[in-house]
């Protein structure tokens, strides 16, 4: 069992100063404005309450720094530039020493092992130039082997207090791990933390698996597998890795499954007689309802966060374009009108934007547009980018980038919705088709 118990205990009232949450102070990042200059911050190693916690104290601070700096919104002041050391979590912070190295934010913390496998982490966020804490100190308790989750939770709090947005660090990604040559590629389902740590395989590589999708709660995954010789849809329980095939019509191919927000309804594509349309079924009942009925290809559905609408891809106009229809089927409205081909639309968890894959000018792009198709912006360009998935806070997108040629390989990349901070997610080998899960509880 990988389950980690983490509880967010009450605010550390013992030390809580009357620090007001600042809405207009200097320690504030407005993400929507597109940050040019990252905020400098310092995170000294957490204070170890005894020698036993020293490595853990350092590891926690390094993961917190990797999370924050990895957003591109924050810039760490390197530890060797610090002129003051935090040796006691309780002692007053010498703010002048942190102003001198130009750290606007300072994160201090402490870690204590408690019993055989538990640990207690306490931390504070400081507004260095205001000379006071930003909000109250907090405490997390969890298992030691779940230490990275605790670090992510600390970083999520820092991110949230400074940006006013929810964080996304304590989240996981399900994806397809790839190995082998391009004409005989082995694929298996895998899950990892958002930063690539704690990778675990969910299937073996004996059958092609494609395009997994998390449920809204992150406990189950839908995917397409050739286990029966034909593309069929499977649902997998993340905790116990149990899986079952969903009942779809014999003699057909089914693929592109997506959960509705209710966690019970599944929209998917079914190919019969060469024609691909959209259907939906109740994951427990198994009865399918047809949502589209056209001789064209209808695929890649994605529900709006309220579950009332579906955005999907269709080539009914002659080229693949994006359409929105009611979740129960019915008249569809085209929303993509730019030059090129559009595919794999994915509705933002905030409901405001739709991410998509676009082919134009000989290249592939990941882009976003408003739900009425306006304000299209392309965030990336390469030989082959496809399959966007949203961070739980709707501010970052992961996608698949495949390199060109016979040695071409797929990797997962992430990019801000501003188009900044493009970077590869660390995976041990090839990786494709990411689906970003929710913030963990």
């Amino acid at each position: 069992m990988m389950r980690t118990m983490i509880s967010l205990l009450a605010v550390l009232t013992l030390w809580a100063l009357p620090a007001l949450a600042q809405d207009s102070g200097p320690l504030r990042i407005e993400i929507t404005e597109g940050v040019i200059e990252p905020m400098p911050y310092a995170v000294p190693d957490f204070v170890a309450e005894s020698g036993a916690e020293r490595d853990m104290a350092r590891n926690l601070s390094r993961v917190i720094a990797a999370d924050l700096s990895g957003t591109g919104l924050f810039r760490e002041i390197p530890q060797d530039a610090h002129i003051s050391r935090i040796t006691s979590f309780q002692s007053p912070v010498q703010y002048a020493d942190w102003r001198a190295v130009n750290a606007q934010a300072l994160i201090t913390g402490t870690v204590r092992f408690d019993g055989s496998d538990r640990m207690v982490v306490q931390f504070r966020i400081h507004d260095v130039f205001a000379g006071q804490e930003l909000g109250d100190g907090l405490q997390f308790v969890g298992t030691r082997d779940g230490w990275r989750r605790i670090a992510h939770k600390v970083a999520d709090v820092v991110y949230s207090r400074i940006t006013g947005e929810d964080g996304y660090f304590d989240s996981r990604v399900v994806f397809v791990a790839e190995s082998g040559p391009k004409d005989d590629r082995a694929k298996r389902l895998a899950i990892m933390d958002y930063d690539g740590a704690n990778l675990r395989y969910l299937t073996d590589s004996s059958n092609i698996v494609l395009a997994p999708r998390f449920s809204a709660t992150g406990d189950r995954v839908l995917y397409t597998s050739y286990e029966m010789g034909f593309p069929r849809i499977y649902v997998l329980d993340v905790a116990n890795v149990g899986r079952r095939v969903l009942p779809t019509l014999d003699g057909t191919m089914s693929f592109a499954p997506r959960f509705a927000p209710d966690g019970r309804t599944v929209a998917y594509s079914l190919s019969q007689g060469g024609n691909t349309d959209l259907y939906r079924m109740n994951i427990d009942g198994g009865q399918s309802t047809r949502l589209t009925s056209a001789p064209s290809i209808e695929t890649a559905p994605s529900y709006s966060p309220d579950g009332r609408r579906i955005v999907f891809e269709s080539d009914r106009s002659g080229t693949p374009q994006l359409y929105i229809m009611p979740a129960g089927g019915g008249e569809a409205t085209r929303i993509s009108f730019g030059q090129g081909r559009y595919g794999t639309p994915v509705w933002s968890p905030r409901g405001d934007l739709i991410a998509f894959t676009k082919q134009s000018g000989g290249r592939f792009h990941i882009g976003v547009m408003r739900t009425d198709g306006s304000e299209e912006r392309l965030l990336t360009a390469s030989f082959l980018d496809e399959g966007p998935t949203w961070a739980p806070n709707g501010r970052v997108i992961m996608f698949t980038r495949e390199s060109r040629g016979a040695q071409g390989q797929s990797r997962i990349y992430s990019v801000d919705i501003s188009g900044r901070n493009l970077k590869q997610v660390e995976t041990p080998g090839g990786a494709s088709d990411p689906s970003w899960g929710p913030l963990q509880q």
Binding site: D183, I208, P231, F255, N275, T319, G343, G361, F383, G387
Partner: protein
């Protein structure tokens, strides 16, 4: 009218946006042929000289047909190949076939699955129209998951936009 011309006209009618920009998403010389390369069904028994052997089906007739970008329309060359495939299947009732539809890598994964299904179905329908019993034919799409050529140029793409007829001996025969 040769196939290239036909493909360009089709493309102009159906996919204006993709055809107006000189990019790699449009077909160049599609070089249609029946294709007689060894395919997924290599290792079938018999001699390519024996017209009743699977090896003859695969190598002499050709087990695959190729398609233009985004298209599932059969070219004349493809129809000629499929006519021979249908004749062979009619005279060799001990074999069934699975038709595998494939796409090149220029497209999203799920769209290409649907496109491969169209191509496999076009072959199935043609073979049935030539007298092969439909219950002897199954279709499966691999989308862009199983390219036979791996370069990222049209020379490879045109070999990957294919439907392959894979023979299987019927149970009990």
């Amino acid at each position: 009218m040769n196939y290239t011309t036909k493909a360009v006209i089709l493309c102009a009618g159906l996919a204006l946006a993709a055809c107006t920009s000189p990019d790699r998403f449009e077909g160049q010389d599609t070089g249609m042929s029946g294709g007689a390369d060894a395919g997924m069904g290599t290792g079938l028994s018999g001699s390519a000289q024996d017209p009743q052997s699977p090896a003859y089906f695969q190598q002499s007739i050709g087990d695959r047909v190729l398609f233009a970008v985004d298209q599932s329309t059969l070219s004349r060359e493809a129809e000629a190949t499929l006519n021979e495939q249908a004749d062979w299947l009619s005279s060799n009732p001990d074999y069934n076939a699975t038709i595998e539809g494939h796409a090149d890598e220029q497209g999203t994964r799920e769209y290409n699955l649907a496109l491969g299904a169209r191509r496999a179905n076009a072959v199935q329908e043609y073979l049935v129209s030539r007298g092969v019993a439909s219950n002897r034919l199954k279709v499966v799409s691999y989308g862009k998951e199983r390219p036979i050529e791996i370069c990222s140029d049209e020379s490879c793409y045109q070999q990957n936009r294919r439907a392959v007829t894979v023979l299987a001996a019927r149970a009990g025969s």
